[in-house]
């Protein structure tokens, strides 16, 4: 029964619970996730990747943390005052993610786009776990997430991260875990907090099967490596388009 055409019919699946009213069968695009800790250079890589893919003729859409129509403004204001408790924060971020999943990611996948996602549930899980959330609980909260086609993990360690962060404007309050805090001053807290976040991302990498890229290399080298991998993936898992359906049927 196995024919080459059957591989063309990719099927998205959820990690756990399904979204009410959603049939993942009509999703034809690709969900590509770029993960990595704060300051590793994800934005640069997403921008570069987007231009490479568009040059190759792929339609590209983008999303990232706290870019939802629903909750972005609320989260920004809550952070200004640092007024929410940690579980409320975790669930506010989950609300933001759910709104983007339903109203940005799914429509793009339905329309056959390559959806580039600057961080997905994994950074949210790592941040929550580092802040003391029960790991099983926060994973079950995010169990409505779609399993992406691939997760590219830009991996770095704290000593290589520090000079990049300083060059890009210094240590951010939240990216240094100062809400906890984890050290006597912002530098100490940054080092300890980021070490914990990276440790959690490494753990999640094993659990969810990320593709790890060494992000300590020169930017162009990492960007080239990433683009090659993504193009390879798109070619090996083509569109479920009408031609494929016709020959496959």
């Amino acid at each position: 029964m196995s024919t080459p055409e059957t591989s063309l019919t990719r099927q998205f699946e959820f990690y756990g619970e399904s979204i009410p009213g959603l049939e993942p069968g009509d999703l034809t695009g690709w969900l590509i996730v770029i993960e990595g800790t704060d300051g590793v250079g994800r934005t640069t890589h997403v921008d570069h990747l987007r231009s490479v893919l568009e040059r190759e003729g792929y339609a590209v859409a983008e999303t990232g943390l706290t870019r939802s129509d629903l909750a972005a403004e609320g989260i920004r204001r809550a952070k200004e005052g640092n007024t929410l408790g940690s579980n409320a924060y975790n669930l506010f971020y989950a609300t933001d993610f759910a709104d983007r999943l339903e109203r940005q990611i799914l429509p793009a996948l339905r329309a056959g786009f390559v959806m580039l996602t600057d961080r997905y549930i994994y950074s949210l899980l790592a941040r929550a776990i580092v802040r003391g959330a029960d790991a099983d609980w926060i994973k079950s909260v995010y169990s409505f997430a779609l399993r992406p086609d691939a997760v590219y993990y830009l991996r770095i360690e704290v000593p290589d991260l520090v000079p990049r962060v300083i060059m890009n404007g210094g240590f951010d309050y939240w990216e240094s875990g100062m809400d906890l805090p984890m050290g006597a001053d912002i530098y100490d807290s940054f080092v300890n907090y980021q070490a914990r976040v990276i440790e959690e991302l490494d753990e999640l990498s094993r659990e969810y099967g990320f593709e790890t890229l060494d992000a300590t290399r020169p930017v162009e080298e990492t960007a080239h490596d990433l683009a090659e991998r993504v193009l390879g993936l798109l070619r090996s898992k083509p569109h479920k388009d009408e031609d494929a359906m016709a020959t496959g049927g």
Binding site: E17, L70, L84, A88, L91, T95, D99, W137
Partner: protein
Amino acid sequence: MTAPTHTYGANRPDWPGRLFIVEGIDGSGKSTQLTLLSQWLQSEGYPVVFSEWNSSSIVRATTRRGKKRRILTPLTFSLLHATDFHDRVEREIVPFLKAGAIVLADRYVYTAFARDVARGVSSRWVRSLYRFAVVPTMAFYFRTPLEVALKRILSGRPKLKHYEAGMDLELHPDVQQSYRLFQARILEEYERIVPEYDLTVMNATRAIETQQRALRKAIKPHLAGLRRVEEVS
């Protein structure tokens, strides 16, 4: 060792306060009963704190935005209410339970279990969202026949809101009809929840003062040992 019957029951810290909550569909009279209870407890000298569903100030603007623009889905509706709830628990409920107060909550996690599942959200998932909610000292369910509750609501307040009426589910194009169908679904969920969480059922068709007497009698044994302010006039 007995295994907990549900994950929600896992968390019962040894705080000196008491948490009493009321549940029921709209028009069950639960808020009236809770207000009367609060007045009585205060007159008896107990420190009382009120916590209402959907009242976290930081989340409110987002909820309003979602409702006004009608961009909430069953999933985001559920998560946003869970955010609101956790904010209230962390700021309004837990500190006062630690302080030895009586916290009275008008609606609790069971409202989410009933409404969100009525909207098609997985019942297991929504229960897991609230896994760390504090188990109440006593939870009262004001059981009301659907028609009685509908009559109380629809006779006095004709302007039903979009989500309140469950219009997002497209059960019926008419707002009142949609509200009826949605409330019926919620009622059905509540009836599942009552035995699952062992809620104390109150007959909400009886006279208000009869219900209040029963409510006071039920909570009285749980007040022993609470600190009171004696010099209340």
